[in-house]
Amino acid sequence: MAKTITVGMATCGVSAGAEKVLGSLKSLADVHKHIPLNIGTTGCIGMCYREPLVEINDGTHRYLYADVTEEKLKSIFENHVLGNTPVDEWLILRDYQSGTEFDFLRKQAKIVLRNCGFIDPDSLDDYIARDGYQAIKKALTEMTPEEVIEVITKSGLRGRGGGGFPTGMKWKFARQSPGTDKYVICNADEGDPGAFMDRSALEGDPHSVLEGMMICGYAIGASHGYVYCRAEYPMAVRRLKHSIKVLEGKNMLGDNMFGTNFSFHVKVKEGAGAFVCGEETALISSIEGKRGTPKVRPPYPAVRGLWGKPTNINNVETFANVPWIVLNGGEKFAAMGTEKSKGSKVFAIAGKAKRTGLVEVPMGISIKEIVFDVCGGIKGDRKFKAVQMGGPSGGCIPSSHADTKIDYEEIMKLGAIMGSGGMIVMDETTCMVEMARFFLQFTQNESCGKCTSCRIGTLRMLEILERIVAGEGREEDIATLEHLSGYIKQASSCGLGLTAPNPVLTTLKYFREEYESHIRDKRCLSHSCPALVQFLINPDKCTGCTLCAKGCPSKAITGEKKKPHLINQDLCIKCGKCHTTCNFDAIYKD
């Protein structure tokens, strides 16, 4: 049987060099034309940290190779493809059941990402082969719109964009709104720093999102849908447009699709990259061609949305869940998770974890399990400090709360939010004040400028954080931050402003001593804020190799050969170059 060789060609794979690997593979295949081979591409399987990934399927077994280069590919081709001998050295998974990286998958539960990494995203046949478009057919032929909504309601699916609003209820409101012109919008304006769940889903399996939208359109009585996708996701946009075209050609989208009375059209609208356009009313304004700023609610979009018509907005992940739920039943989805948080959740893991990438875990799993069991713990086996959940709108959860379950309410109790699925893992070298400053700067930059509290208030908070990390904090700063946070959380009109203080509030809650030592002792406990750090040489370890002194750009290091060196603190610009060049670990931060 012909072997199938598949290269992971999502953005993560491409940026790791998958195109070159694919190119080499094709030339090798050309050279060995006599050998029947199927060469394909697929989306992200989640192991972004090991890309490029290449899978060889010999018909009985599937082998996944990681960190594949052109060189390695040559060897794999010779040994495995031509010689039928897998190269164990680079093999990380066998049949997705065993292998060095199997731990990564062991605790995952894939619904949203069920096809990612397994199908060619551009292939409708691939999708159909895995039960694609069975759900919409079932809905159109066997169910009333009300029944569809009932299934979704029963599943307990909640909005995966971060708000966690029950999807069934949202659909019900939109269905109940009077009027014949209604809209479905898929929010693909994913903007949290470090988050790429939606991108992967769209790149790896666009059809499941489109199918989810169709089902929604049928359920609420809409005949038009928009995917509002950020223009920074060109691959996602291209795949969506391609899929829509293919579907339209087969009467699986458009007027009287599947030969039924139901008509549904989808357009892709590219956003210009304003973070706030992920907020549903701002998103609607943006589609309408207006300035993307949030609008006063009520009226909610379900009553008056796009072009003044009832509109239902869900994000990519929510829609991707929908076909699975319709096919498998709400009960099966609801069986997974906690009392109020059902099903699975996709997280984009970034930061100091050993395995960073995309994971989909069942609701109810603990943070500790994600960090240690799925992601393999902290790089360099340093101390786990906290995770930041929910991006700039979320908050940090300290390691002391690592047993917390993934559950909307549990996380909110700690001051963080589930968010859309960004999870940044931090270790002892991360300064929490600086982390808060980073996120606040992000929200400040992304403020649309409408509300006073967000436009000016968050800037004033940012200025305070800037001076704290610069070692110029004042005694009253913490109180001012708390006062401003309290006000901004009440006064702003959209999620961006309302949640902007969260990173500050949670770090103040769990890491207050770091703020205090910055302000009072002018010290950064994580030794990370440049203004508050001194680079020192441990004379016991210094061998006097002079490497540091040669590399110092400000000529701050002096010393005789073979004798311990000294850093002149007045000249030191704290670039940290010596710290990284020292071969004897003699230079430390204090």
Partner: protein
């Protein structure tokens, strides 16, 4: 409508509609909630966050402008949490508000003078008003105009350009010119409370003045024989002449202040005595009049005298004769005064000994120059050590030479003695002028309480309230602060008066609540680069007596400056203060909550203002990004000239692509100015120096087109005013157009005819002019008989004047009454024979509910812009807009069907629509066939045939067949191209055919371009004459039968109406005219005609709204237009009509004008079509 819910606001139970917001409900119940981004005509924006309130039930903060009311809410508008939130919002806004409410001249003036305001007034020659403005906070402008230390000029921003504006010279000019014209003071009734003021210096006088003018009985106790304190006894005659000072003091005292001079408190009478005599409060303002001792050896020698005692002696006993050398120790103004006085007393040599250098000398620089010019020598770095005498004879003053060390606490470098530098300064007289102390013996012999002092040197009083520790006793001026300037004492006196007034009326001592003042310097150092662009100018120098000559006498040295120099200096004012100071919401609300601008200091934005637009000035520095202008301009009138550029903190309100506003689509309606809650968008003033004019609004009407907008004339006086239209009644939307807001310049135009002129005699009195008119008209009537005189009247004339004028026509046996425009085309569009009235059949506002708007002809948006806004809004809300004929550019984005037929073809199009309807199977003629003329009408109709508009016409016919679709036809009579009566009749036919008459939002709106076209037609053709007569007039003119013309306010170019030979044939022409028009130029008698702002009257909008108005300004001629007409009437008939009589007459003949005599009647004379068949309907008929 939502459901009814019950909420409480501030404890008050209110039932309200759940569709309304908390803010709406509160305001409907007269509960104040501040809000800045809220604009009733726009969707809630919820951005400024100033409208925050607290729901006590949930303890949640809510933004009241956007939050609908819900059952059970317990709203508190001013709970601590709500106030804190409001304050935070304001303080955030202020932290990025790089703007000055007031210039530094004002904020640094202890007497709070509105300096920018008075300079602006002086600049336009309003000297009296300028002086009065000064006197509002400072009753001693004569004194300050001469001797003020001028904190204003020291802080003037012009210092960054060149030299400060000579503010004080202008003040002096004003007092010299206008002081004698202040008029007799009006003494208010006494309130029964008594205040004793101890000390008649500037502080005591000021306090007494402000208390007296507030109704208190005030007595000043003064130990000296005369009032004035240091002004009189400390300032030499040559700087402040006693006769000038007396003028000021006498005027203050003439307000009813009691004065007891020669009474020393503590000796002649005690504070206890005053209490016993019933004084409710005491103000201690005894100054600091005792010279400070130098503290040197032998100082008590009789050759040493304190400077202030010397000056006092000169004032009281005349100048002594001085010989030899005079040494004056000190460096302040007193030292200068003493030395210059010594020069005038004949001293051969006068030297000032000062221990530092010229740079540190506290005396006024100009004074130092003056002294040096007069020969005074200044010995610097010299300090006295001992008075050296020999057997009682003065040898001189032993001095140290000094040098300057490090700066001391005053910031000046500290003088230090050079060792062994002692030398003897030989002299014959020594005057010490190193400062003054207070004489606190006033506090002796009293039991009312121990008034706390600083070691017996000065009295301790709260700097904000002037209250001492003893109840009812206040103190201010030098006795509290130590010696300071006159203006400081004046400021203290005023502050004390205001606190004492509050104290005596409330029993509480309250700090006078300061208004919030934004300042650029609160945010950071001033950006001086701004000043680099300003052209440098030279500061005016004071004209003075010649130095050589002036030392021989004590006459005032300063002579004042000229009128031209005043204008020059006033123009040098950089107008740092904001023009919106009196109605800025940001300022007012910040004052309300006590916001502090520096509370959240951080990064802020600086922008360049755009003042290139002729009418609108944009200053983004002041913008709070509430978006009212942006949303108004875009969402409400569809112009989109303004927008938000950038995002987040970088967001700025301005036109796109950095264009100047003047180069955008802006139609200069100025509504953005109106909706702006701050000074970010202001009038780009027409005045020379925009000033801060404190105006007050008076309701009037716009005299431009026939839309009938109410306006507010916000005037300082008849020359200075701004026109706005704040929403104040349901109908008035508070919007204006360029014409109404900016182009009514004729109201203040200096070119207006100001006096009557008779051809042969030149200027004549009104009596002479009217007599001549009547005499001439009588002659003509007698010679040529009936209808020999044409009475021309402009449709822009108020009803009452038209009525009286037409009555005059009757007297002269003429039925030829018309506007020139009607004369040119006697067959003006008229639907009277179809409906019974020649009037729009619906109200303008009904257009908002229309489904289909058919606009006929061009020019709607230029002729009736405000109605154009309403049309655009209706289209934005879903109406279809059909244009028949040429399309206005402004309407391009609104048009859904354009039938751009040739001019004159409009009727054909309308008839084709009717034809298409009639031929349609679905057409139900049951209603229309009952109307007279139906058969004749439909008999002549044709189908559209092969017209290129066939499809569109049939489409429209299809819509009209649906009786649920509401149709409004706009017959744009104002557009000059569109004068075809048939077109209007065809439009009416269409309404009748489809049974759309007398149904809401179905009808025809006929626009007019003069403000009273409707009233003119109603009156002239409804009471005095007929359309037939109009045609006769046309004929009579051509045939030369008209021998005289009398014109009322008709400003049409006369050559358009009559050929030259006809005009030459006139025996007599008389005009009441505002300007020198072509008709005015050929008039034998010309009488000034006054605009609407100068008379009482009424006009009628084109949809039949009767708008009464009162005069805003007194008639410039002293006589209203009605006065003039009445004179003519009286001369001709012996009768004259009061305005009330005229209105009764009109209302009697035209019942729809009942509003004129009965204010309870609706101002619409259209009766609501929904309820009543109305004025139309009794005699409907088709036109064919």
């Amino acid at each position: 409508m939502g459901k009814n819910v019950t909420i409480t606001i501030n404890g008050k139970k209110i039932t309200a509609d759940s569709d309304k917001t908390i803010l709406n409900v509160a305001r409907e119940n007269a509960i104040h909630i501040p809000a800045m981004c809220y604009e009733p005509r726009l969707e809630p924006h919820r951005s400024c966050l100033v409208c925050s309130v607290e729901d006590k039930k949930t303890n949640k903060l809510l933004m009241s402008c956007a939050m609908p009311v819900a059952d059970g809410m317990e709203i508190e508008t001013d709970s601590p949490a709500a106030l804190q939130a409001r304050k935070a919002a304001l303080e955030f806004l202020l932290s990025n508000h790089y703007a000055d409410c007031r210039g530094p001249c004002h904020t640094n003036c202890p007497a709070n003078i509105d300096i920018q305001g008075y300079l602006a007034l002086a600049n336009v020659g309003k000297y009296h008003e300028a002086l009065q403005l000064i006197r509002e906070t400072n009753p001693m402008p004569i004194v300050c105009g001469r001797v003020c230390v001028k904190y204003c000029e020291a802080n003037c921003r012009r210092n960054y350009v060149d030299t400060p504006a000579a503010i004080n010279f202008v003040k002096r000019y004003l007092t010299d010119l206008e002081y004698d014209k202040l008029g007799k003071p009006v003494i208010p009734p006494r309130n029964g409370k008594k205040v004793a003021v101890i000390g008649g210096g500037p502080s005591g006088l000021t306090c007494a003045y402000f208390l007296t003018t507030r109704g208190y009985e005030v007595t000043i106790f003064e130990s000296h024989p005369k009032l004035g304190g240091m002004l009189r006894y400390g300032i030499p005659e040559y700087r402040l002449a006693e006769k000038v000072l007396d003028k000021e003091i006498d005027y203050i005292i003439s307000h009813g202040i009691n004065v007891e001079t020669g009474v020393k408190i503590g000796k002649d009478i005690t504070l206890d005595d005053l209490r016993a005599k019933g004084y409710n409060a005491i103000y201690l303002a005894i100054g600091a009049q005792v010279g400070k001792p130098m503290g040197i050896h032998n100082e008590d020698s009789p050759h040493v005298m304190s400077g202030v005692r010397f000056l006092e002696g000169v004032k009281k006993s005349g100048p002594p004769k001085l010989h030899g050398t005079v040494a004056v120790v000190g460096g302040g103004n007193t030292a200068i005064d003493v030395s210059r006085t010594a020069v005038r007393c004949g001293a051969e040599k006068v030297a000032i000994l000062y221990r530092r250098t010229l740079d540190e000398m506290p005396a006024d620089k100009e004074e130092i120059e003056d002294a040096m010019e007069e020969g005074v020598e200044i010995k610097l770095l010299t300090a006295p050590k001992a008075v050296v005498t020999d057997n009682g004879d003065l040898l001189g003053l032993e001095c140290f030479e000094m040098y300057l060390g490090e700066p001391d606490s005053s910031g000046r470098r500290k003088p230090l003695q050079k060792t062994d530098s002692e030398f003897l300064f030989k002299c014959d007289h020594i005057f010490s002028a190193i400062g003054q102390d207070c004489d606190l013996s006033v506090l002796e012999n009293r039991r009312i309480g121990e008034i706390k002092t600083r070691g017996g040197r000065t009295i301790i009083a709260d700097p904000e309230t002037m209250a001492t520790n003893v109840e009812g006793v206040f103190a201010g001026g030098d006795v509290v602060t130590g010696p300071k300037a006159a203006v400081d004492a004046i400021g203290a006196g005023r502050k004390a008066a205001l606190v004492i007034d509050k104290y005596l009326s409330t029993g509480r001592i309250i700090k006078i609540h300061d208004e919030f003042l934004s300042s650029k310097t609160a945010l950071s150092e001033l950006d001086t680069s701004f000043f680099e662009e300003i052209a440098k100018t030279t500061r005016t120098r004071m004209h003075k007596h010649d130095p050589k000559e002036r030392t021989r006498h004590f006459e005032e040295v300063d002579l004042g400056i000229t009128t031209e120099e005043v204008e020059h200096e006033a123009s040098r004012c950089l107008t740092c203060g904001c023009k919106t100071i009196y109605d800025c919401d940001l300022k007012n609300y910040s004052t309300e909550v006590g916001a502090v601008q520096r509370a959240y200091r951080g990064r802020f934005k600086r922008y360049k203002a755009d003042t290139r637009h002729p009418y609108v000035a944009l200053d983004p520095n002041k913008c709070i990004l509430c978006g009212r202008c942006v949303r108004y301009c875009g969402d409400l009138i569809g112009i989109y000239a303004l927008g938000f550029v950038n995002r987040g903190f970088e967001t700025v309100m301005k036109p796109a692509m950095d264009k100047p506003l003047a180069e955008t689509t802006c139609i200069a309606c100025g509504n953005c100015i109106e909706v702006c809650p701050t000074g970010a968008i202001e009038f780009n003033s027409a005045y020379k120096n925009p000033g801060v004019f404190r105006t007050s609004p008076q309701r009037s009407v716009c005299a431009d087109c026939g839309v009938g907008c109410r306006v507010d004339i916000n005037s300082f006086d008849r020359d200075i005013f701004y026109i706005t239209a704040k929403p104040h009644e349901t109908y008035v939307e508070g919007e204006l157009c360029k014409k109404g807001r900016f182009e009514s310049t004729y109201l203040r135009n200096k070119d207006r005819i100001q006096a009557a002129v008779e051809d042969s005699k030149g200027p004549v009195t009104l009596d002479e002019a009217t007599q001549s008119i009547v005499k001439n008209l009588n002659e003509i009537k007698n010679r040529f008989g009936k209808d020999s005189i044409l009475f021309l009247v402009s449709p822009g004339t108020p009803n009452e004047e038209i009525f009286t004028f037409s009555s005059i026509a009757k007297l002269f046996d003429s039925s030829l009454i018309a506007s020139a425009e009607d004369l040119m085309k006697a067959d003006f569009p008229d639907i009277a024979d179809m409906t019974g009235m020649n009037l729009s059949t619906i109200k303008q506002d009904e257009v908002s509910d229309a489904d289909l708007i058919i606009n006929i002809g061009p020019g709607l948006t230029t002729q009736s812009p405000v109605f154009g806004f309403k049309v655009k809004r209706a289209v934005a809300n879903g109406a279809q807009f059909v244009q028949i004929g040429a399309l206005d550019d402004e309407l391009k984005r609104y048009v859904s069907t354009l039938i751009d037929c040739r001019k004159g073809q409009e009727r054909k199009i309308l008839d084709s629509i009717a034809g298409s309807i009639v031929k349609d199977k679905r057409f139900d003629k049951s209603a229309s066939e009952k109307i007279e003329g139906f058969k004749g009408f439909i008999g002549q109709l044709k189908k559209p045939g092969r017209s290129k508009f066939k499809e569109k016409i049939e489409g429209l016919a299809g819509i009209l067949l649906d009786s649920s679709k509401k149709m409004v036809v706009i017959y744009n009579n104002a557009g000059t191209d569109n004068k075809n009566s048939d077109t209007l009749n065809s439009a009416m036919n269409l309404l009748l055919l489809t049974d759309r008459m007398n149904r809401p939002s179905n009808g025809v709106v006929i626009t007019h371009n003069a403000c009273n076209s409707q009233g003119y037609r109603d009156l002239v053709f409804g009471i005095f004459t007929t359309k037939e007569n109009l045609k006769n007039a046309h004929k009579a003119i051509k045939e030369g039968k008209v021998k005289a013309i009398v014109s009322l306010n008709e400003d049409i170019d006369i050559a358009d109406a009559f050929s030259e030979d006809i005009l030459e044939g006139m025996e007599f022409v008389a005009s009441l005219s505002m300007f020198n028009t072509s008709l005015a130029r050929i008039s034998k008698v010309l009488v000034p005609y006054l605009p609407i702002t100068e008379s009482d009257g009424s006009i009628v909008s084109f949809d039949g709204r009767v708008l009464k108005f009162r005069k805003v300004f007194n008639p410039v001629t002293g006589h209203t237009n009605l006065d003039v007409l009445n004179r003519i009437l009286h001369l001709a008939s012996g009768k004259s009509y009061s305005i009330d009589y005229v209105r009764e007459q009109i209302a009697e003949r035209l019942p729809q004008y009942a509003e004129l005599i009965d204010t309870k009647k609706s101002s619409f004379y259209l009766i609501d079509a929904a309820k009543d068949k109305g004025l139309f309907g009794k005699q409907l008929r088709f036109f064919s």
